[in-house]
């Protein structure tokens, strides 16, 4: 494939800067826990079910602990202590803590060794659930095989999980390699994960463990029928980032939308909350072998795609640095970007190709995820189809790994069955017709594309230098990314952030961190 001349020393400087930025945040991460993180630990230990109003037991348990100001010890501390004192099971311990007499405050008399010992078995069982699901996924993937790159990724978003399953199978039949079930718009700000199958949702379908199962079953069925493994995606983002990562890990999902900063910028979720949650979610994701999709494409829907292109690259370096800190190998880092430049600008295609090629080369082993045009889409579906075709051509020319396919009805509605069919047909045609195109030419060294790529890298380095100097906290407060400004103690979910006590207990995190 044709390669641009990229200043590798500059790339390494960007990486080092990003590593420093992430390191600065890690001390805050390591000093805190959140209600979301603790609910994840509870679920991992097997705390399941919900009451008649739909409140999950994990929420009832963690809320109780939070009310008594005990979250800083970690839920594992209390579950372990109850087991050490004779509780028959985690579930019994959880119900007792959630609904029984007031929880006794931790004290120096608590036998920490006994607490840890009581958790050894449950911790092993929790990790075995992830490992077993991973094994099953790998076996299925290697038995059936996956399609050639770029992988064709489509979304379904009916609001009803059963319709989603029908649409997912139709998409797989029409050639999709990856199916994402878009989440209901309100879910990112819910501080609990709903239970059971759901049939009502606006703009998408709720992410629940049962819904994950239903789609996995449908995709397994069609994958076996087609003799081609079809991957499943959902969203590990919002206030329940790490809980969803856990559910996805045990239900055998293949990919998760998961970004170190997306929640802060686009959902106004508190910074500390997001950084802590993304870290724990990525520890789980790393263990389970799920590919993350980061959300840099969103920067370009709010800020200008020509002027702010370098913010995408800078953010990718930062997302990569955070992912490395969470133990994620590069093969699981689906760094995101997008084709969002005003299509009526002269040579806009060249600008898009420059950025796509640069990102491909900078992150050469990463399963880069490319997002289609959305911002400049109109109701003219015929023109929109042409716009998507140019996106597809750029994608195959620059060797993108994962392409979320554009829909000609993007500006109108969530895709209909035929919209998706035609989008997949067009992508199949273009990927196939231009498969080895980029083996046939060299990029002009001083051409528009090479110069644009250089400009983006230069600007990304300048931005990273600035962020490094003033810290990520201040940078975000100043609106460096996506022109959005957030403060350290502002945003949603801050009340659920707690400082860890010296005796903070979380054996699952300990094992995940030790695995490196």
């Amino acid at each position: 494939m044709a390669r641009l001349t990229v200043d590798t020393a500059k790339v390494e400087r960007c990486r080092a800067l990003a590593a420093g930025i992430a390191r600065d945040v890690q001390s805050t991460i390591d000093a805190h826990t959140t209600v979301g993180l603790e609910r994840t630990v509870a679920r991992a230990y097997g705390v399941e079910g919900a009451d008649g109003d739909g409140t999950p037991l994990s929420n009832a348990l963690i809320d109780r602990l939070h009310k008594q100001d005990f979250i800083g010890f970690g839920v594992a501390y209390f579950l372990g202590r109850a087991l050490a004192r004779g509780a028959q099971s985690i579930q019994e311990a959880a119900e007792q803590l959630a609904f029984g007499a007031a929880i006794v405050a931790p004290s120096d008399r608590d036998d920490v060794t006994a607490i840890r010992a009581a958790l050894t078995g449950p911790t092993e069982a929790a990790l075995a659930r992830i490992d077993d699901a991973k094994k099953e996924r790998s076996a299925m993937r290697s038995r059936l095989g996956t399609g050639p790159l770029p992988l064709k990724y489509v979304i379904v978003a009916t609001g009803n999980i059963h319709d989603d399953a029908t649409q997912a199978k139709a998409a797989a039949f029409a050639g999709a390699d990856i199916v994402a079930v878009i989440r209901a718009t309100a879910q990112s700000l819910l501080d609990y994960v709903p239970e059971g199958p759901t049939t009502e949702g606006f703009g998408g379908t709720f992410a629940t463990q049962e819904n994950f199962k239903i789609i996995r079953r449908a995709l397994d069925e069609i994958s076996t029928g087609l003799g081609r493994y079809v991957q499943q995606t959902n969203y590990s983002s919002g206030l329940c980032m790490s809980e969803i990562a856990w559910m996805a890990a045990v239900e055998r999902l293949d990919m998760l939308l998961n970004d170190a900063m997306y929640g802060i910028l686009f959902r106004d979720i508190n910074m500390v909350r997001t950084f802590v949650d993304q870290y724990f979610s990525r520890r789980i994701i790393a263990r389970s072998g799920i590919i993350i999709n980061t959300g840099e494409d969103n920067y370009l829907t709010t800020a200008d795609a020509v002027e702010r292109a370098h913010t995408v690259l800078a953010s990718q370096f930062i997302n990569e640095a955070f992912a490395i800190r969470a133990g994620l190998p590069v093969e699981l880092m689906g760094l995101g970007h997008a084709y969002e430049i005003d299509p009526w600008i002269e040579d806009s295609f060249l600008l898009e190709v420059a950025q796509a090629q640069l990102i491909r080369q900078v992150f050469d082993r990463h399963p880069i995820k490319w997002m289609p045009p959305t911002k400049f889409k109109t109701g003219d579906i015929f023109h929109s189809h042409v716009h998507d075709a140019m996106f597809n051509l750029a994608g195959v020319m620059t060797g993108q790994s994962i392409e979320l396919l554009g829909m000609f009805s993007e500006a109108i509605h969530t895709p209909l069955l035929m919209d998706r069919y035609l989008s997949l047909k067009a992508a199949k045609y273009i990927f196939n017709t231009a498969r080895h195109f980029a083996d046939e030419f060299e990029w002009k060294p001083d051409g528009k594309i090479a110069l644009r790529a250089k400009e983006i890298l230069d600007n990304a380095e300048t931005l990273l230098l600035e962020v490094d100097k003033q810290s990520i906290w201040t940078s975000i407060a100043n609106g460096v990314f996506a022109d959005v400004k957030r403060t350290r103690t502002g945003g949603k979910g801050y009340a659920g952030v707690v400082k860890r006590e010296p005796s903070y207990t979380n054996p699952i995190l300990d094992v995940l961190e030790a695995a490196e």
């Binding site: 718009t185 703009g203 911002k375 109701g379 069955l417 035929m418 069919y421 022109d483």
Partner: protein, 252 residues
Amino acid sequence: MSEKNLLRAYGDREGDGMVQLSFTLAILPSDRAREAAKRFAEAHGLKNPLVVAMEQASPEHSYFVVYGHSTHSVDLDAIHVEELGAQALGRDEIEALGKKLGRKIVVVGACTGSDAHTVGIDAILNYKGFRGEKGLESYKAFDAHNLGAQVENTELAQRARALGADAILVSQIITQRDCHKENGRALVELLEKQGWRDRVLLLFGGPRIDNKLARSIGFDAGFGTGTTPTEVAAYIVQQVSERETSRQAPKM
């Protein structure tokens, strides 16, 4: 006379009524499926429909493209559209009207309810704007506040009141099961209950929204796809100026 105002679809020749139609049916491709597609098109008023594409689109569905001559026409004289009641103005004219008003017009906007898509409200309010036109934030005439996404009606009302809003902009992208109408109506009812509905200009915007729909649920105006910040600015500045004049008139 009336013949002149009858509109028919125009394809290649006057009056041919040519249209295209595409759809999926839950049947696999076959001669029977082709006939089904043809009859489906005929049922929509297409004469001599030609099924030009029939492809399997899922394990159970086929995708069709049909061309045919539409037998229908539309009587233009029978159409009455709710006009906005505002002139199109340029940036300078808007600023001039604002200056005449002698104070900044306070505009508060949000995506309400569960809607998390700020692209519309951002395009109208934020400095950056849309299609090369800067948003209301960039005008001296306006004091614009973008509250962002997933704002509850009660919060929007409270903030708007505290800021002394002249106009409230509500953006709704998600329209599944008419949730946008419910959200909009609920805001109007809330302001009525609080007794200040008439003191504020209520604007509704989004890809599935037009002036008629907005008026039908109690808003003052609606703006659909492709609306530019300038159009909204022009409407607001004229309406607020008008209201100010009529409010002052009796005192003089």
